[in-house]
Subunit: 335 residues, 2 copies
Amino acid sequence: MEAVAARAGVSRATVSRVVNGGDGVREPLVERVRQAVEELGYVPNQAARSLVTRRHDAVAVVIAEPETKVFADPFFALQLRGISKELTAHDSQLVLLLTEGRADHARVGRYLAGGHVDGALVFSLHLDDPLPGLIHGVPTVYGGRPGWIDGSRGAVYVDCDNRGGAREAVRHLVGLGRRNIGHITGALDQTSAVDRLDGFRDVMVDADPRLIAEGDFTPGGGERAMRELLDRCPDLDAVFAANDLTAVGAMRVLRERGRRVPEDVAVVGFDDMLPFTEQADPPLTTVRQDIEEMGRLMARLLLRGLDRTASASGGLAGAPSSVVLPTTLVRRASA
Amino acid sequence: MEAVAARAGVSRATVSRVVNGGDGVREPLVERVRQAVEELGYVPNQAARSLVTRRHDAVAVVIAEPETKVFADPFFALQLRGISKELTAHDSQLVLLLTEGRADHARVGRYLAGGHVDGALVFSLHLDDPLPGLIHGVPTVYGGRPGWIDGSRGAVYVDCDNRGGAREAVRHLVGLGRRNIGHITGALDQTSAVDRLDGFRDVMVDADPRLIAEGDFTPGGGERAMRELLDRCPDLDAVFAANDLTAVGAMRVLRERGRRVPEDVAVVGFDDMLPFTEQADPPLTTVRQDIEEMGRLMARLLLRGLDRTASASGGLAGAPSSVVLPTTLVRRASA
DNA sequence: TTGAAAGCGCTAACAA
DNA sequence: TTGTTAGCGCTTTCAA
């Protein structure tokens, strides 16, 4: 920077002004400085800049899930796309942090607390996850309702109406005349899975507990759970799966066991993960949530909070609070 | 930090020493400082630290591909896992940067040049990619041979023997008695695709150009190319696909057109992407490369270079140079 | 509109 | 072994 200033025949302060937009600097000078920057290939040192501005123009996305799962699940891809678009529009860099296991959590916690980013978007939190405790003083928006919310903590999150959507799905099955309706849950250490199970129970008030099998949001988990369900209740005539991936696994097992979908067993999923659901055989009836929009919204909420912080002060205080998006049932052939 | 020093009754320098490992500080003092840190919830400011140490304990992984593609291709997941393991062992944070479109490239370039990370691992570069030019003064290891290598540039990369592997695959088909062997290429703006095509040509010296169809490493691209191939050369009896995903798409079309695999058309893939290849119908014969190992190696090369830089100086100079890993043909049922 | 100068929070010589 | 001190490279008052 010193060199640039010298070459342009100005002070370092002026170089700084030009580099940061050039407001309040006379045109000819701006030009001279720009040229010097160009010629010397000067790139401002972000560490120094952040040290004084306390801004980083970067936002971390933390996914508390091993890479294999992250990359196998199109859910994250969609969510990330929404986030990415929004951040890009705000000229902020998306920094993706993957965490596998506890040790990683500590490191990610340090990374966030160390002030590398302006804020964090955190996903796929599990019930006893230590991460929230480690995120200290970094404005954060959660993807999906965090498990430890007692109402008072006031964490900001974006979620869809998991319970309502599940209710709608199960009511649809009931409306179809189905009586032995099973449910394959998601990973029950995540609130989305718990909420969907609650929705199922809202409708099937005293469902036989044998009609509920635990899955983990993966096709493999769906297969295992479907087998359990069929073994325990051979007269099953419908299944509500906690997500589409699970439903796909379940349908595989149903076919394998000679049950027709939807004639013998009707199936409803959750998410409406295109093109999965449309290309499934038969095309999957499911509860749609707008995943990309959720991502966008998370980013917007965070950025708005940051702007507010900049002018006023105090974390995300006064920032817009959590958002719960509606779901809609999409009827296709499977139920 | 000032506060911690005061509370522990020591100087800031001592606090710094304790926070950074506590060497050369007497035990009782270490304890006092640790406690003060604890009580005050002190977290060192990384920007300040980096400003003086010029280290960040973070490495960027740049994937020059839109999220959709990144997340749809298990290749990246495997590679990332290898990288992640190696970086974690070195207590370095993995920072994933996705780039979609040119505008992002500039931003990523700025991010890297701005000194947020100690080094970069760059993947999936396309031939005319501007990224290498934007990466300025940041030690970098490439995943796959960069297209612009004229031999002299001396970029460090890790790759597998694409050309040799392709040769082996095609020779295998020839050995099976196949004569009309087609090839579905990958995205030809990536060297891996070009190298595999070259390997194909090495064996099929004067192959009819109509036996070569351009794909893009995706199942969809494989489908399109397979259709082309069948339309142009109905007497085709074998296909070498540029990767397993492409092969899966090709097999889908073959089945659709009533060709049996391998009886009518033998198929060989590339990568050996488990469990894809084993669960394909029929199980896919393919050229194996150890993707996770490549990731590990990339990280190791970079870190070794960084350590070297620390003691000696001058980029990755003198660092271990590029590595090309061998491939092996894995015979299954498809050829 | 420009420049001089005071830090941002930390580490690393150097002295004590 | 500990403390003192001088920056790291930048932004930002404040004065000119």
